[in-house]
Each structure stands twice: as C-alpha cells, then as structure tokens.
Amino acid sequence: MELFANLAHGFAVAFSPINLLMCLIGALVGTLVGVLPGIGTIATVAMLLPITFGLPPVGALIMLAGIYYGAQYGGSTTSILVNIPGEATSVVTALDGHQMAKQGRAGPALAIAAIGSFFAGCVATVLIAVLGAPLTKLALAFGPAEYFSLMVLGLIFAVVLAKGSVLKAVAMIVFGLLLSMVGSDIETGASRMAFNIPELADGLGFATVAMGVFGFAEIIRNLDHGAEMDRNLVQQKITGLMPTRKDLVDSTPAILRGTVLGSILGILPGGGAVIASFAAYTLEKKLAKDPSRFGRGAIEGVASPESANNAAAQTSFIPLLTLGIPPNAVMALMVGAMTIHGIVPGPQVMQKQPDLVWGMIASMWIGNLMLIIINLPLVGIWVRLLRVPYRLMFPSIVVFCAIGIYSVNNAPVDVVLAGAFGLVGYWLIKHDFEPAPLLLGMVLGPLMEENLRRALLISRGDWSVFLSRPLSAVLLAIAAGLLVLAVLPALRAKRDEVFVESEG
C-alpha cells in the first residue's frame, strides 16, 4: 500500500526532534492566538513568516500549520468564558458556550470543545491522507454559480439560527449584508459607502465588527447596574470541570455531524471554516428534539461547531497540497512560506515534495494530540480565571481587544470602529436584536454578491445557470426545503396567536 508507505514516511519526518519542537511551538502559539481576542491567525502567521526564513522548510510549515489549527482550539476559550469570540470561527460557540458558563458549566463546555476539535482533527487528517486527491475535484467543481447557491443556503441557515423573532433575525442578516457592502466594488473598483475614509476602502473587517458587537457590547452591558447579580452568579457556582457521561452521550452525534460538515465545507475556497461552524450549529438545532434548548446552554451547540471549524481548518489544506492553490488567506501565507524557501506549490507538490506534504499531514495528527494534551489541563486554569473580580477583568478585556484589533492592520481607525460597533451592539441588545445573524450576514454578503456577479458575467446575464448546473440546483433545492421547514412552524404559531387574541 502506497498510502501506508507515504504515511510511514510522513511520521518519520514529523517525529524528528526539530519537527516535533516546531509542531509544539506552533500548537502553543496557535492556542495563545486563538485565546487572545482580535489577534487573528492571518496576522500571526504573517508576522512569523520571516522567522521561518532561517528554518528548514518542513519545520517552518509544520509550525505555521500548527498555529492555524491550534487557533481553532483556543478560539472557543474566550467565547465560552466571556462571550467574546477569539476567532471568527467561534462566534457561534459563544451562543451556547457562554450560557453554559453562566450556569457554572464552563469546564464541560471548554473540555467538550477540545475533545470535539481533537476528534474532528484526527478524522480530517485521515481524510486528507486518504481522499485528498479525489476531494480536490470538489474544489474545482465549485464555480461562481455553485458558490452563490451555497451562500443562499447559508443565509437560510442564518434564519434558523435565530433564537427569538425570525423577523428581527432576518433584519439583522440584512443589516450584516449591508455592512459588508462597505468598501471597494469588486468589478469597477468604485468606493462604496466608504466616505473617503482610507481604512474603509477595503470594507469593515470582520474582526472589527465581531469584537464590537460581541466583545465591547457585552462588557458595556455587564456594567449596567442590573447585570451585577448575573455576574456574581457566574463566578460562584462552578460545578465539575469535565463533561459528565450524559454530556458525552449528547455530544457524540453532534461531534460526528460537525466533523463531516466541516470536512466538506473546509475544502471549498473562501470562508469555509466560518460557514462550517455556522452550518454545524444550525444543523444541530434543526435535528434536536427540543430546539428551544439552543441558546440556553445546549452542549451540542458547543460540540458541533467546534468540531466543524477544526475539521474545516484541516481540510482547507487539501486544495493547497493537491492543487497548489491556496483556498484562503492563511493558506496563501503558507504558499508564501514555501515560496520563500524556493518551493512553489503546484499540482505536483505531492510527488515533488513528499517530505513536506506527508510530513505536514503526519504532523497535523501529532499536533492535534499535543493540543488536546495542552488544552484539557488548561480548562481548570481558564475556569479559575472566572473567579477574577469583574471590576479587574473588564478593563483587561478592553485592553486586550483593543491591542488585538489594532494588530490586524496596524490601523487605529479599526479600534475606533470596533468601539463604535460596541455601542451599536449595546443598542442592539437593548432592542433584543441578536448579533450572530448580523455577523453571518457580514461573512456571506461579499461572497454572495461577488459570485452572483461573476456567474452572471460568465453566463452573459442568464439567470438560469443557477438551475442548469446540477450542483447549484441541488443546493438551491435544499435551501428552498429548509426555508419551508423554517417558515411553516412560524406561520402555524402566528395563526394560533391570532386565534388566542381574538378570543380574548
């Protein structure tokens, strides 16, 4: 079996002391980057690129890869503890994770996030090794029309995400879509709603808005007088650190589904991991016997998106390793790291650089093992952090978030914008609008508009491409089906409501 020979070769490479060390450093830095809000993997990998100049290429790439998937582990930490997503991919983790923390179950939430990530990471690594080449076809089969249909499906997911009023959730999605329009037009380069502010020329950063409406808004809200009691509650009743048997039983199917969904979406270029986490959460909520538990501390709502985002982080290496085409910005940096070492990845990188490719694949499994060993004991420390009085905690979070946002582009304007979105988020909370659909709208907006326009340019304005291309048609059919499922109960409820009111 060629596969086993390749894997054996890969492990031989990955187990060399220097590569093990690189893997460990990558995992540690990744965890740190994930935990710190605002500091993203893109900025960190970009900053660490020059360091890899002096390292052997295999070790350098093992380290950079470790940062990328390590951040997926760390990203859930602040989501759960303080309702501030450390990474874009852990926005949905905050929905139920933080509720669990409020119920004194921060420990199980953090632990299940790590366990889910580990499982997903292991499965996705095997997937890369076994099915990498055939799965590449999927990445190539996705043209603009398919992307657009996928984004429509994503929007329908977002509706299902809503905890309260569907109408208000849809309004938030559209608000997010509108915010994502700020910046340069892709086709003409015209500046849209940027008001000649150079920092807005490329649009509002996702991290900026997410830090604002989740992070800063949450802090401001917690400083309200009435919220004090809530906080003390979080700090006092901390129950077990590890998940119970029931938690594990509940989470297992969620982890499995999240892994499958994440693995598939990760291969697609674009915001694969972010969409994967949103989609996984929605799927769990749809499949749950009692969907009302979601948003109130359902452990599946943590297990599934965390598995999905880590699976997607791993499988997003597939287009890079088999096609030599980076599917996202972090992978583009990986290409840069290879280029610096004189290796320009292409379709033949697997044959030409077996050490690099198989060493990296093997190291991912080792890295995931290291990460779970690092992260499970950390749970105890993180939970203890919750005992820090909030009067000291909140200024620290403000400072960390501010530094984090500044570091993304070295732009002070971004920090001010995040502050402004903090006030917007505070207002949204006061009017019972949810920020999660807004953020999903922001992620999907540009992907949707750009691919719609590309598809129409290529088809010369013929809208039927979305139905004549089979993959696209299937995605739209699923979207339509989901929409019917989502709208039907709402309509029924409304009828009941009208009925009740007319009686009274």
Partner: protein, 326 residues
C-alpha cells in the same frame, strides 16, 4: 557625482558588514536603528517575497534590522499613502511596484499621493514577468491563433483578473487594448481564486505573474502562450516571448522597487541604493530570485535616476490603457 557617492556608500557598507562596530562616517551615521519597510501587499505574495529576500541581505549590509510591515488594501494604495506621509528620515521605506507607483495614477482619480512627486526613488529590485495564460482546453494552440480567436470571439470569451488594480488586471487591460478587444472581465479576489477558476476551466484566459503559474503550466493544468519580456524565462524555457510569437507590442513586467518619502537626504538614498545593489549581486539572493522566475535588473537600471525614468515611462504607458476602464 551620484555614482561616486554610491560607490563610497557601497565601500562603507561593505566595511560595516565586515566589522560590526564600524559605523559609516558619512550619511549621518545612518542607520542607527531598525528600518521599517512597508510592503503594500499580503505576506507571501511576489512583492513580499522579493522584498524579504532582498531586505534580509540589505539588513546585513546596513548593520540594522529591516522590519517588513505588510499593509494591505485598495490595490496597495493604502500602504503607499501611509508611506508618502511618513517621516523622511530614511527609517520608513516602501516596496512600491507597477501597480502602486504607475497603474494607480489612472485607476484611482482620488489618489492621495503621486508616485513622482511624493517619493524619492531608491532602487529597482526585481521584476516578475507577465504570462498570457489560458485554460488547458482553450482552442488556440499558439499566440497567433490566440490573437485571431479572441478577436473573432470577443463577445464570447471571458478574461479573469485578480481584482481592480492588481497586476493581472492592469496587464490584461494592456493586452486587450493592444488586441483592440473588450472581452468580459471576470474579477476575482486575488490570484489564488483566479487561478482556481482558470484551472477549473470556468474562465478562458488571464494574464498573471510567472511565480504562481509555473507549477501549473508544468503540470499541464493550464497553458501559457507567451511571456511578455524581451527574453525567455529560465524557469519556462519552452514558452516563447511575445516578440517571438508575433505580438511584440505586449511587453509587461511587474517590477518592484524601493522608494523613500520625498525629501529623504541624498546620502541616505545612496547608502540604501548601494545596499540594494550589493544584495542583487549576492550569489544566494540571485539564486532565490531566479527560482521565483524573477528578472534581476541590469546594472545600468539599478540607479535611483534609472528608477525615476522607469516610473515616468510606466505612468505614461498605463495611463491611456487604464483611464477609460475606471
């Protein structure tokens, strides 16, 4: 005068590299602290990699570290605006390129800087040649057929590019204006997605820098019609030049060069220029640049004056091509 000064600078910097303690007596002891090199594109792209390879060697020569700061946005103009406004003390430099210091002039009517008026040219680093690429099953077999085919089917063909203001966009516009066709331009976010669409056959042709394309061409996932430089590129010996293939008018190279904010002292410029030239003559630097398919400028083209002329010519070249597009 300048050449004597740069020669002196070169000697002094060479001396500085040999003995760590020696501080160059001239140029006000420059540099005495870390230099920031702004790169207007994401880390890992061609401009970034070329900057990193050359500045790593320049830092040894200068005896101070050079930190690369990647500032992305608006086709590199965000970063260039910032560099134009930076202190002209020689501690903030920028790697400008064809887009930021030439094509941006017609593309962005509200550009907050002017490449000639707001910058002092320092040194030309390296250029990456532009290739004419097409999906692997695109009917034309060579450049002549390609020209005929695109002209005959101008209504039907799709040309991909990596976004407004990108090298692939500008060079594609140049090609289209030479062919006198206006195909539908399909914009992508960066060269990665554009290349993905070309490999998948969703678009017909595009122009792109050699770095990203070589492995795909060698693997047969896309095909190359010609390289838009006077000479063939060693990394693609079988791909003819546009001159050989019958389209000599199409000449394009994504050149990268170091600029300093206007008013930076000539002594500092000379020191930096000498360090850059020294880097370009280094065996290891040359090897790495050539691996990328880059073209290293001939000695005559490495002076600040030559760079100033290049910028002037390039602005003149791109303005008529890109003006109607915007």
């Amino acid at each position: 005068m300048m050449s004597i000064r740069s020669l002196a600078g070169a000697c002094l910097s060479a001396f500085a590299a040999l003995s760590a303690f020696a501080a160059p007596a001239s140029a006000q002891n420059y540099p005495t602290r870390t230099i920031t090199m702004i790169v207007p594109f994401a880390a890992g792209g061609p401009t970034d990699v070329i900057s990193r390879i050359v500045t790593a060697h320049m830092a040894q020569t200068l005896g101070q570290s050079i930190v690369i700061e990647n500032v992305v946005g608006a086709g590199g103009t965000t970063a260039t605006t910032r560099a134009a406004r930076a202190a002209n003390d020689g501690y903030t430099l920028i790697t400008g390129h064809m887009g930021t210091h030439a094509a941006s002039v017609p593309l962005y009517p509200k550009l907050a800087y002017h490449p000639e008026k707001d910058f002092e040219p320092v040194a030309l680093l390296a250029g990456t040649p532009i290739l004419i690429l097409a999906r692997k099953d695109f009917p034309p077999k060579d450049l002549k057929e390609f020209v005929a085919y695109v002209k005959a089917n101008a209504e039907k063909v799709n040309a991909a590019h990596a976004g407004i203001g990108s090298v692939s966009h500008a060079s594609c516009e140049l090609l289209n204006s030479i062919l006198d066709v206006k195909p539908v331009g399909v914009p992508f976010n960066g060269t990665g997605p554009a290349m993905n669409a070309l490999v998948a056959g969703q678009v017909d042709y595009m122009c792109d820098q050699i770095v990203n394309a070589v492995p795909q061409i060698n693997a047969g996932t896309i095909k190359a019609y010609a390289v838009a430089t006077p000479e063939r590129n060693p990394s693609l010996p079988n791909v003819p030049t546009t001159t050989e293939a019958g389209l000599p008018a199409f000449q394009a190279q994504a050149w990268n060069a170091v600029f300093a904010p206007k008013g930076t002292s000539p002594a500092i410029i000379a020191t930096l220029n000498a360090a850059a030239i020294k880097a370009l003559d280094d065996e290891n630097v040359r090897k790495r640049l050539l691996e990328l398919g880059s073209v290293i400028p001939a000695p005559a083209n490495r002076t600040p004056e030559a760079l100033a002329t290049l910028v002037k010519n390039e602005i003149a070249k791109w303005t008529p091509v890109l003006k109607p597009a915007s």
